[in-house]
Amino acid sequence: MNDKINLLKGSKAKRFRQEKILKIIRISSVVSLTLVVLTSLIFFFLKFRLGVESLKEKENAAISQITAVSKKAGKLLYAESRIKDISDILKKRSTFDGVITETVNVIPSNITVQSLNLDKKNLSMTITSSSLLSIDKLLNGFENLSENKKIFAKITLEGLTVDPKTGKYTISLTGNLP
């Protein structure tokens, strides 16, 4: 009861608490400022230690060294670029030459090619022969090119005629390239 009416004692306690808070605030302010300054100094020295400038000098020295062989570099890069172009052309080119070679190989010697037209999509040819056996060989050869070698997607026999005067057979056929 007495404590409650003792104003002096209450004010002392309050002042003591205020001083304590003030002390904490003062210490905090000094510590925070010190920490900020220290962090700043640490990063300053860390950045200083990195030595980017000396590395840049090294880079410049290395570049000046390579400049002496830059002509060779240009030639090498040019050769690489040309080889890539050549390789691309070879990859995309048609198998036209292969088709001609394979077609010629299946034509027996006693067959006369009257006409042959070959483009990137089709082969059409007209042949004559007096030997049915040779025509049979030719057709078997084309069948082989289509089924086994996959050179043609489809072979169509367009017509077969015989000339009774000469005894020669004429056949027309077309082949679709894949």
Partner: protein, 221 residues
Amino acid sequence: MNTGIVKDVFDQNTFRLLYYKNKVYLLPFLLIALAIALVYLAVMPQINDYFSYLDEEKNIKERVNVVKSNTNTLLAVDETNLDEKLKVVSSALPAEKDFGGILRAIAQAATEANVVLGDFSFQIGELSASKTKVTNAYPIEISLSINGDIVSSKQFLRMLMERFPLSEATNINVSESTSTIKVLFYYKPYDSVNFDPGRQIQPLSQDQLSLLNQLAAFKLQ
């Protein structure tokens, strides 16, 4: 008017009272505010700078290593050998329309295949329009006729390919003794080569060397 003066005096007194009551806190709070301001204005930029310097240091180190490795690669390349390779690729894919070379190759191929050349014509489209889709190389189409059957045509094309490995027959029309053949030849103008010392240069790969060897085996023009 009186009310205003009373209010001003009251305000001044209030502030004065508050100042005297709290002036001991003022300096520490100012210091804390200064510390916070310094964090934002000085420390944070310094940290950012440090990390960007760290990145730059890493990049420069990498670039220096690449430049050094490129120098070693280039020093190891034999320039005479490289010139020969350049000659091979430039013959296979000329930088200009080599009409002389094409005509010479056609004549030589005809002689070797024992066929007689008939008429032939050049068909060169518009340069920009006729660029090939795959390579940006330009084609020159030549339509020619030879006195020969399918076997002679095949032989002729084989001989032509010996000289121009990139030549490509696109159409062949054979009658009993005459053949008409359409052949494409390619050329590609020089591209500007930008040499960046910081970009890794590799010596020619095995695949590239093997293609070069194949090309060198032809009777290039």
